[in-house]
Amino acid sequence: MNRTLDQLCTLAQQELGADGLSDKVDIPFAELGLDSLGLVDFMFTVEDHFGVAIEHDRALAQPTLAGLATLVDELLVAKAQLVSA
């Protein structure tokens, strides 16, 4: 598990008061207890943690922890390129 996904699992566990989400990284958020509104709320936490802005539609394209980790990594790379440019 990469570092971003690991951090996302920790954030989600804190948010939901749940354990063992590292085994559920490919389970849709809805099945983890985050409905559509809850997912937007969770994105606030993720944005604050990683310092990125997440477009809601892109987050919904792969609505799992693994999918979100991929998206966050892309955003972090883009952010780093912007800073270095």
């Binding site: 939901l16 008061g17 749940a18 207890g33 709320d41 606030f44």
Partner: protein
């Protein structure tokens, strides 16, 4: 049809628990403290009654984020009342159970946070739960979901009379046969900067007594200078006598009457005629004669005009110094929309304990020529019935009447 009160709950600056509230009022312990203000926002230091308990500490953020502070307070008070009533987590017959909740402002803190984000956030980013936190029916909605109260949901926002009116309307709803059980009360959490600035600008807040902050609020005292804001929540469980009897519930008191009147005269100046009509209506609704009432928990906000007008209206209803009166806002502050519920919880316990709380911090009072103002120690009493007054900005007046069980 008689309506019983079978559960009480309270959360205020005096602590968590209805009994804690009654103990503090009996002892004359104040929950009012000095607040620092904000030079940046031109908010002068002020006195306030702040809730210091952690709210719903076990709730995970995914659930907790749905709640404004006033709704979290509602949960605390309602949980206590529901537990005391001995009810299962879910209402026994959800389609016959209602909720009636009052708040003056609703999600004031959440609204301020969203404005702060809008004006200062980079990029501006308003939380997606802002609407459902701020809306005035938020607390009632949470309570309905928590206990499956599906017969009716009344959300009353009528300034300082909000929760008193919610309780009164629930009394009539139960009498009218629309439900057998109702969770009622109110909550308020408006001690944020913008709100405090508004009250300060209006000139009705008492200047902080820096030497004795806990005595800043002095209802009916000659030196009173205004109200002190408070936050908190209070809840009661109401049941029809038949419903309470069928499940073996213990009645704590009878909610006997509700009187409501509207001044239709001025946005902030109270009106003795309107207040008198509310008290007389409550007495009539309860089938009580003035002489049967042994205590009045006054609205008593400690504004110069407000207390004088309430003294006149009490004199008009009961006669000169004919009924013991006190204003407990001196100790728990003015909870605005939640005030009526908290003061009713205090009033019920005063009857139960046979001990009427004093009007604290009164050094001298010309109004005591009109009122039998309870001063000094709590007063032993065999009162069998009492009134609680809540008179609101906007000109709405509510009086609730209770009888000992």
């Amino acid at each position: 049809m008689r309506i019983w009160i079978t559960g009480l709950g309270a959360l205020s600056a005096l602590g968590a628990g209805a009994a804690v509230l009654a103990d503090a009022l009996q002892a004359g312990r104040s929950g009012i403290t000095a607040q620092p203000g904000s030079e940046l926002h031109a908010l002068r230091p002020f006195a306030a009654a702040v809730v210091t308990e952690a709210l719903a500490p076990g709730l995970p953020p995914a659930q907790r984020n749905l709640f404004d502070r006033h709704s979290l307070m509602a949960l605390a008070a309602a949980d206590e009342a529901w537990a005391q009533a001995g009810l299962p987590a879910t209402a026994p017959d959800p389609d016959r159970a209602a909720v009636a909740w009052g708040t003056g402002v609703g999600g004031s803190a959440s609204l301020e946070a969203s404005y702060q984000q809008m004006f200062t956030g980079q990029p501006p980013r308003v939380h997606p739960y802002t609407v459902v936190r701020v809306m005035a029916n938020a607390a009632g909605s949470h309570l309905a979901m928590r206990h499956q109260l599906r017969a009716a949901q009344l959300s009353v926002s009528n300034a300082c009379a909000s929760s008193a009116q919610a309780i009164g309307e629930a009394l009539w709803l139960l009498r009218n046969g629309r439900a057998d059980l109702a969770l009622v009360g109110g909550s308020e959490a408006l001690l944020n900067t913008c709100s405090a600035l508004g009250w300060q600008a209006m000139g009705v807040m008492a200047p902080l007594d820096a030497g004795a902050p806990d005595q800043t609020c002095r209802p009916f005292d000659d030196a009173r200078q205004g109200l002190v804001l408070g936050e908190g929540a209070a809840a009661l469980v109401l049941e029809t006598e038949a419903h309470a009897h069928a499940r073996g519930a213990t009645p704590l008191a009878e909610l006997a009457g509700y009187g409501h009147s509207v001044d239709a005269a001025h946005l902030s100046r109270p009106d003795a005629a309107g207040q008198t009509r509310a008290m007389l209506a409550a007495l009539q609704d309860a089938g009580l004669a003035p002489a049967e009432v042994g205590y009045v928990n006054a609205h008593g906000t400690a504004t110069e005009v407000g207390d004088a007008i309430e003294a006149a209206s009490l004199q008009a209803v009961f006669g000169t110094r004919a009924v013991p009166v006190s204003a407990t806002k001196a100790l728990h502050g003015h909870l605005i929309g939640a005030g009526g519920a908290l003061e009713l919880v205090a009033t019920v316990q005063a009857l139960q304990r046979g001990l009427l709380p004093a009007s604290a911090h009164v050094r001298s009072s010309r109004l005591a020529e009109q009122l039998d103002l309870i001063q000094g120690e709590a007063r032993p009493s065999r009162a069998r019935a009492a009134l609680s007054n809540s008179f609101a900005f906007g000109g709405s007046n509510v009086t609730l009447a209770v009888r000992r069980a």
